[in-house]
Symmetry: C2
Subunit: 474 residues, 2 copies
């Protein structure tokens, strides 16, 4: 054997083992991976039909040795090795928190998070799911919020093709037996996001349920988390979102949420990003197992306050959706959605998109995917390009309408204001060029001259404009 | 003598007295007015050139008797009477708090407060002041925020014609000697507002000062308050605003603000409305001498929260101004200003207007008056007409986007949302007609049919629309 796996790729082991009894609970299987002096213990999982798998994401190039372990003699104690080689071109590793409030891939490449939301897109059947992937490929989004469990909710009345559990002889769910077909399907969709360079922000629990998955016994919850981590953690682009609207899940207490976080923290060998998304009140993002703040809120002027409160990245995953439905969380204009992206950016945070236009077959992007109808994605793409060009490592707020990257780059956003002029205070000893950005019409117009210190600059006197100042060689 | 004065009109007494020494501090003059068993003690004031005046606003029709009092024998002990007759057509008396969160005139006529702001308009000279009055006559505004002291501030560099104090022989201000000419001029402008049916929300102190009026000794502050009340309180349309941005006045402490309120409360025989306006943090509006909350804040979605906090009317006198200046408090669009008016209305409060468009001679309405340039006043007028027609006694919030007057009238405002339909929950046992309001284009379109109970209604799917439901005879 001379297997090679690229850095942050997936090394996979497959073994045959028992299929009788309950392999999900009775058979332990895993492997210990070793590179030089470091050892990483990885849980495997049962994939049905007598097949057991271990997936491992090596983070260091060089030789890795492994040895399997099991409570079944025939599957344990087997050893082997592989060589971890340089990552391929678009593989930058998993995303981590970087510089307190921002993100970067493991290789140091900055990650400007621009998320969208299709909660139940992976439960819609091949045709629609493939259309969603096709749409995503041409979209500006590099993160997808998606639920593992299927969704029952207004506009979501269709039953999914696959369900995560098997039923017992009594017709009731057997929460100790997963349905591998469900998970194989789900993880294929996750992988396809990875192929598109899109982070999968996987929502582990949610309240939009009529199957009983939102109110399983604690033991079943924990079993599910360990199983899912064993299956998915080796994919570098996975993020763990404990819940959508955790505070609407009446069957769960704060202690449950703490426990879920700690299980994920303990079982995920790669320490993927962990967060939890609220409806009304925040979970305490200060707890040590929370890597970043996943927030639902419509007031994007508060991002800088939340940054200071917890000193962790702020991702406003839900600030209401572009759309026209009767629910107030799903009917803001494209202009307002774009406005909120800019406000969150100036606050030093990241904002998530969603879309809820009425559709004759109830195919709303926010939940089912499909195609995008709205006018905000093009403008969000415009913003993303500016950020990736000018301040990929993230902006930090300096005033209510301004943010900067050190003294090299300043961005001011005026929102619903229409100043005909604005007073800038730039460093005296450097020279800057200015550009006026129309965030809606997506134009960038240079201002003649170079500038330093404190001065008034003329602006168009129209709303939804921004101004950037970039340092030039004096 | 058989003088008659209309109810809530001004009965004026004039007497000659000493002009030597310091009549402002050395001569006490006033009168006690009596109607049947009730007595009202009223302070007079010195108006220069040996003239002393008492002004009195009778609130009850019938015979009133009075007797003057003074520490100078020649001015005291004189008695007389007048007859208080029915008020003239447009005289409804002073505005009072009504139904906890709203306002009504003393005769019970509801007052829908729609204010504007020209802080220093009365210090601009006759030509501009008369233009301001002319503009106001054709405007929707029925309250004016205006400073007694002149204003020194960006866009306000011109010296006023009149100043409120005389200078001593050393060239310094003598805070014990008012300049009656200043006050005669100021009160003429106040009276002219009254003639237009506009409440004068008189700002007693403010921080925009280079004369020293913002940092007088406590004794001078108190003397000033008593003098101003003696001069102006008899005008029924006067409101007392202790300050603009009280929290920017570094020379004053919270105890000072309490004392000013208590002096006004004690000396004003008519108990005109009393408030104080903040910059950053609120004064404690719960204190008993505060009649209503005068607020500076840009987040109008919080009005209903403030209502509940203090259980007093909420008047957001400053939510930023329509304009295009470089300061972020003065450059929101007309659309945003109108939006804020609607948000505050739905919250069960009242909102104030101001306008700050750049002008070649620095004549910005917000401070100097002149003419209105903006597009918001017409829409504010449209809103005022709706409220005066449908809910003159005020709206109370029932949800984030809805407010009602009992079960007779419901108003929903969708702001930046663009719902294509909306679910209404009206009482089952009554019938309602619906109308869709375009708050910007100022149209009101009926929805066919009558409605009861819970139902979905189609909407235009465009932002800045509202929906009203008015009960009809079933």
């Amino acid at each position: 054997m001379n297997a090679t796996v690229e850095q942050w790729g997936v090394f996979a082991l497959e073994r045959r083992g028992p299929s009788s009894g309950n392999p999900f609970t009775e058979v332990a299987f895993g492997a210990r991976f070793r590179h030089q002096h470091r050892e990483v213990d990885v849980d495997g999982f049962y994939d049905g039909e007598g097949i057991y798998r271990v997936r491992f994401m090596p983070d260091t190039q060089g030789e890795w040795h492994y040895q399997t372990r099991s409570n079944r003699q025939e599957m344990g104690g087997e050893s082997g090795m592989f060589t971890c080689v340089a990552p391929s071109e678009h593989n930058h590793g998993p995303v981590r928190v970087h510089n307190t409030w921002h993100f970067a891939y493991a290789d140091g490449t900055p990650h400007v998070s621009v998320g969208t939301t299709c909660y139940a897109w992976a439960h819609q059947g091949d045709e629609l799911e493939e259309q969603t992937l096709d749409t995503l490929e041409r979209s500006p989004f590099n993160k997808m919020r998606m639920c593992l469990f299927p969704k029952h909710y207004p506009f979501n009345q269709n039953e999914p093709q696959f369900l995560p559990y098997q039923r017992g002889e009594d017709g009731e769910w057997d929460f100790s037996r997963f349905d591998p077909e469900f998970f194989r399907h789900f993880e294929r969709r996750v992988q396809q996001l990875g192929d598109l360079g899109i982070e999968a922000d996987i929502i582990l629990f949610h309240p939009y349920d009529h199957w009983g998955f939102a109110s399983m016994p604690a033991e079943a919850d924990d079993h599910y988390l360990r199983y899912l981590i064993a299956r998915l953690a080796a994919y570098r682009h996975v993020w763990w979102s404990m819940a959508n609207e955790f505070d609407l899940m009446q069957a769960k207490s704060e202690l449950d949420w703490d426990r879920y976080f700690r299980i994920v923290q303990k079982c995920d060998p790669y320490q993927h990003l962990r967060s939890v998304h609220n409806c009304r009140g925040f979970y305490d993002h200060g707890k040590p197992w929370v890597t970043h703040q996943s927030i639902q809120h419509s007031d994007l002027t508060r991002v800088s306050e939340w940054r200071q409160t917890y000193r962790k990245p702020v991702v406003v995953d839900e600030c209401r959706y572009e759309g026209n439905i009767e629910h107030m969380w799903g009917n803001i204009t494209a202009q307002e959605m774009v406005h909120r992206f800019w406000l969150g950016t100036i606050g030093g945070g990241y904002v998530g998109h969603g879309e809820t236009y009425l559709h004759p077959q109830d195919i709303l992007w926010w939940s089912k995917g499909g195609v995008l109808q709205g006018d905000s994605p093009a403008r969000i793409d415009f913003l993303r390009r500016i950020l990736e060009k000018e301040a990929p490592e993230g902006l930090d707020p300096i005033s209510r309408e301004g943010a900067s990257k050190g003294e090299a780059y300043y961005l001011y956003y005026f929102g619903v204001a229409q100043p005909a002029r604005f007073r800038l205070s730039l460093p005296q000893d450097r020279a800057y060029r200015l550009e006026i950005i129309d965030t809606w019409r997506m134009t960038i117009a240079p201002v003649e001259g170079t500038f330093s210190g404190r001065f008034l600059v003329d602006l168009p006197g129209k709303p939804y404009h921004a101004l950037q100042a970039r340092q030039v060689e004096g």
